[in-house]
């Protein structure tokens, strides 16, 4: 139309649909622009590939689903009724082959009966082998909606939190009134509206408020709200979920309507916390159920008014209006005002209300009372309707059918906490039942359909009426009468399901797919269960509704992920020595949260070459390694020692100040939790280390044990992992190298700082803690300095002649000494399994003591720690390989255990491994097959003691 509407005719927008170049205007949705260009056929249906058009004008749209954009940005199943057009938008119809107008799969429509309710279950039962290979791919090709791009999403997304006293969901007359009232009372208000503009039905219906056009009231209200600094207005924002404690999720379409995002996120996920919320989501109109009610040109009456009044588009030239309620008068008035010819009003009621009678009389509109539409026909575009009831035998030529079966309050968000909606006979619809705490429904969402009710004021709004006489299914229809057009569920599918015993609403949904997929039955659910109620002789209230769950409308996975993708999936932790290591050629690996240096290759060294060299440098001279990732926890207080005796399985309180001890913790179920060292820095001051992976769980364990189990003890627990850089310095030359930079006042001789001793010192001017601790079996120290000095310490050690080594060499060194690590502390092993049983305190209580004595944990046949070496030198060993006694089949019953860790020992010149083996050391000297079906490898191994290098440990005490 040349004038009217809320579009900007000075800003034409070029877009394409299935290759055709079209023009719309700023302010148009894609659906409005398609209708304006005379496009009525926009898709093919899910099962039958029937031609489909545009049914609605809002987020409830089941039919007009299209693919937007191209390439990686292609987005399937987008509702044309909410997508805004922009210059250069490329969109395509879905589910058609080879083209929308001529679709080969539409033969499925002729084969209708085999696609009836439950066809998946009945038709494709056997042979079973055909299911995955033949039937499923066929069905997936035939049925379905849009295609995902299959490429990484090129857009960026954002997340934001917001807090308010009141969240108003929906900015129609009721929501605006509620927001205005709260804003004036001084509340912090968030007003969320899914549409691009505020107003709701006021944008679509020609109403007056206080004698002036509603647009005046709307403009005044919006101006006042925008001026208030306690109000935040979010347009293009759909509240999709209601969560506990007044938490709401919303999706803001920030840049979906822009040709170029220009650095903006495409969408933003809002987390809104508000103790109170107003549900002002309006109502969704119901289609009527008659033959061919899916033909393009059959449209909801309210949507017809939206296209006429808001978008200045005539959805047809000759219309039939079919209804069971008083809305017809408005529809006829608006159609006439737009110059659309009215072929007739078909009202299923025998008595028409006075205003309708006056209207049709004054405009000479043909009226068929107590009549129905039996069938709409025309294939790809509506051509005629055949009438029934009192008008049986009448056929009306038309290209538009505006239908209204009444309105369903949009109760969805109000029911997401499980509160069942309540049936209202007066409006023949469900209204909100028990609501989530703090939520209140207003206006049409509460079943109050009149504008005066929505505004809640005395302002004159003109005559209005909402009487309805339900008509759920037109009797005697011809052809397919759809209840759910998105899933191609017909009235006969519902009755078939009822006959076959699927009489519970949830069963009906699963069996027929009614109410599934992208629209979740917004236009179909209530009608479907009304049909079911009639078929099973129950009332609609007795039949009940299916459960409402988030999200209210489809949410892009990208919006949920936000910025947490790829390297930003989670924070990367770098050690204090990271930059130094990077400058010195380190290669890094992701190890849990951390990036750790695996090796420091020289020249063209491979990982194995570099690791071998680094291991030899430690065994023969001296190396240093960044071990800052180990968890560090500071425990202080008069009762610290008593508390640690309770936490550790071995005794801590006998430790002398300046001394360290290896400690293991059990879980309360008796299994080993973690291991590390405990150093008593001063009488009431301890420093614990944990394994890298358990730094956080151990802290949590300490806090919980202290506060719940030992609340009377006087101590403080503080994590200090991030405060310290810690380096291991290991090898026969370690003391000589340390002596170069340590302050002369510190005695680091074997007598001054013996094995498992600890002392405060200064190294090259840096305040440090020195621990004589060894993970490699060599003479070794761990040096802790303030985190910021990590790189400086590494430089000092390098200059003094030590060589850096990485995680790989560290692992080989510990394996050579048989020290257990994460692969052995696997949450199933006991201290005895790991050869550490003798550490457990005999008398005193500690966490895990009681259940560590369970018979099953003391069983001699448990898998316990052993060492492995291949029988043939040169053979490798795979961690994860299963151990099978030599000469036996590799079957589950012959599986005696598995290889937990394996590596090539540069010191010994062959592969070594640790394993958990049923019967453990009893098999010493025996030969097992180490079989790894996963890697397709097998090695014969000999069972040996788990300490490979210097079992006596004399190097430690050098």
């Amino acid at each position: 139309m040349a004038e009217g509407g809320l579009i900007d005719r000075t800003r034409p927008v070029r877009f394409s649909f299935d290759g055709a170049q079209l023009i719309g205007y700023a302010g148009d949705t894609l659906a409005a622009a398609l209708l304006a260009n005379g496009v009525r056929l926009v898709g093919r249906s899910f099962k039958y590939h029937r031609p489909r058009g545009i049914l609605s004008a809002g987020p409830e749209e089941p039919n007009a689903l299209v693919e937007l954009r191209e390439g990686a940005a292609r987005e399937p199943n987008t509702r044309a009724t909410v997508a805004e057009i922009f210059d250069g938008l490329v969109c395509r119809s879905q589910n058609r082959f080879p083209s929308l107008g001529f679709d080969l799969m539409s033969v499925a429509g002729a084969l209708g009966p085999i696609f009836a309710a439950g066809f998946y279950y009945k038709t494709f039962m056997w042979p079973a082998a055909f299911w995955e290979r033949v039937y499923e791919p066929l069905i997936r090709r035939a049925a379905g909606l849009g295609r995902a791009s299959g490429l990484p999403d090129p857009d960026c997304y954002d997340k934001q939190s917001a807090f308010a006293d009141l969240l108003v969901i929906g900015a129609g007359p009721a929501g605006l009134s509620a927001a205005l009232q709260a804003a004036r009372a001084g509340d912090r208000v968030i007003l969320a509206e899914q549409d691009l503009a505020l107003g709701g039905r006021l944008l679509a219906d020609r109403r007056t408020i206080g004698g002036k056009p509603a647009s005046v009231w709307l403009a005044d209200t919006e101006a006042e709200l925008r001026a208030a600094d306690n109000v935040r207005i979010l347009t293009r924002t759909t509240i999709t979920g209601v969560y506990d404690g007044g938490t709401y999720a919303g999706i803001e379409r920030v840049a979906d309507h822009l040709a170029s995002a220009g650095g903006l996120p495409r969408q933003r996920l809002w987390r809104i916390v508000a103790p109170r919320a107003v549900l002002a989501t309006g109502a969704i109109e119901r289609p009527l159920v008659f033959g061919g009610n899916d033909t393009p040109g059959v449209m909801l009456a309210g949507a017809v008014r939206t296209y006429l009044n808001r978008f200045a588009v005539k959805p047809g030239t000759r219309a039939v209006v079919f209804c069971n309620n008083d809305d017809a008068a408005t529809t006829i008035t608006d159609l006439l005002a737009a110059g659309v010819e009215i072929a007739g009003l078909v009202d299923s009621r025998s008595e028409l209300p006075e205003p309708v009678r006056e209207l049709v009389a004054s405009h000479r509109v043909k009226v068929f009372a107590n009549a129905t539409v039996l069938e709409a026909s025309g294939g790809k575009s509506l051509k005629r309707v055949s009438l029934g009831g009192q008008a049986q035998g009448t056929t009306l030529a038309c290209d538009l059918l505006a239908m209204s079966g009444g309105w369903n309050p949009a109760v969805h968000l109000g029911s997401q906490h499980g509160g069942k909606p309540v049936w209202s006979e007066r409006i023949a619809a469900f209204v909100p039942g028990p609501m989530p705490p703090g939520m209140q429904a207003v206006g049409a969402a509460a079943g109050q359909f009149l504008l005066a009710e929505a505004l809640g004021t005395q302002a004159a709004v003109g005559a209005e009426t909402d009487a309805i006489t339900p008509l759920w299914q037109v009797p005697g229809t011809r052809g397919k009468a759809f209840v759910d057009v998105q899933n191609d569920v017909t009235a006969s599918d519902v009755s078939l399901a009822a006959r076959e015993g699927f009489t519970a609403v949830e069963h009906l949904k699963r069996y027929t797919t009614l109410g599934m997929a992208t629209d979740q039955g917004k236009t179909s659910n209530v009608t479907g269960l009304a049909l079911l109620a009639a078929l099973t002789n129950r009332t609609i209230a007795q039949t009940g509704t299916t459960i409402f769950r988030p999200p209210y409308t489809p949410v892009a996975i990208g919006a949920l992920a936000g910025a947490h993708r790829g390297p930003h999936y989670r924070p990367t932790r770098r050690t204090p020595g990271h930059d130094w290591a990077a400058r010195h050629g380190a290669q890094f690996i992701e190890a849990g949260e951390w990036l750790r240096a695996t090796h420091f290759p020289r020249g063209g060294e491979t990982l194995q070459d570099a690791t071998n060299r680094e291991v030899r440098s430690v065994r023969q001279a001296c190396g240093f390694c960044d071990v800052s990732t180990l968890g560090k926890i500071d425990v202080q207080g008069p009762d610290a020692a008593a508390f640690l005796d309770f936490i550790y399985a071995n005794t801590i309180s006998t430790l002398a100040p300046g001394r360290a001890r290896y400690g293991i913790m059990l879980r309360e179920d008796g299994v080993v939790f973690d291991d590390g060292t405990v150093t008593r820095l001063r009488p009431a001051h301890f420093l614990l280390t944990t394994s890298t992976a358990n730094a956080a769980p151990v802290l949590r364990h300490l806090d919980v044990c202290r506060q719940i189990l030992k609340p009377g003890l006087d101590l403080c627990i503080e994590p200090v992992t991030d405060q310290w850089a810690q380096f291991a310095l290991a090898g026969p030359q370690a003391r000589r190298i340390l002596a170069i930079s340590v302050d002369p006042a510190t005695d680091i001789s074997d007598a001054g700082l013996p094995f498992m001793g600890a002392v405060a010192a200064t190294i090259a001017g840096i305040p440090a803690r020195l621990f004589r601790i060894s993970f490699s079996g060599e003479l070794a120290y761990e040096i802790a300095v303030p985190a910021a000095q990590g790189g400086a310490l590494a430089s000092v050690l390098l200059e003094a002649g030590a060589a850096p080594y990485g995680l790989e060499a560290l692992n080989v060194l510990r394996l050579e000494k048989g020290h257990v690590a994460g692969a052995e502390l696997n949450g199933q092993t006991t201290a005895a399994d790991l050869g550490l049983g003798r550490l457990l305190k005999k008398r005193q209580d500690f966490v895990g003591r009681a259940l560590s004595q369970r018979p099953a944990l003391l069983d001699q046949e448990r898998q316990t720690l052993v060492g492995l070496r291949p029988r043939a030198v040169g053979r490798g060993l795979q961690a994860g390989a299963h151990l099978i006694p030599a000469g036996r089949q590799a079957t589950a019953e012959n599986d005696y255990g598995h290889v937990t860790s394996a590596a090539f020992s540069a010191t010994l010149g062959h592969a070594i491994g640790l394993a958990l083996l049923r019967g453990g050391a009893r098999h010493a000297g025996q030969v097992f097959r180490a079989v790894s079906p996963l890697q397709g490898s097998e090695t014969e191994v000999e069972i040996v003691a788990p300490v490979f290098h210097h079992p006596g440990g004399h190097a430690l005490h050098a």
Binding site: V704, I708, A850
Partner: protein, 81 residues
């Protein structure tokens, strides 16, 4: 879900770790094994008010004793453990 920490105020549940039934008492060191099995493994699953521990891990590190209705997630009370 949200909890009102007595130290930190009203916070998202994402900041807390669940630590289970707050009505259990750790058996004495001489208790029967069956008492330990009950303590470590056996849990009721009540429909209604439930007393449980929540650890405010991402903030004050206090263990809180929370009364929660398991049917509605209504928080009835929050106290320090």
């Amino acid at each position: 879900m949200r909890l009102t920490c007595p130290f930190c105020g009203n916070r998202s549940i994402a900041e807390f770790s669940y630590y289970g039934d707050a009505t259990l008492t750790r058996p004495g060191s001489n208790a029967e094994q069956s008492a330990w099995v009950d303590y470590v493994y056996m849990r009721d699953n009540p429909a209604g008010p439930h007393s449980e521990f929540w650890y405010h891990e991402a903030a004050c590190r206090q263990v809180l004793r929370v009364e929660r209705d398991t049917r509605t997630h209504t928080i009835l009370s929050v106290q320090t453990a």
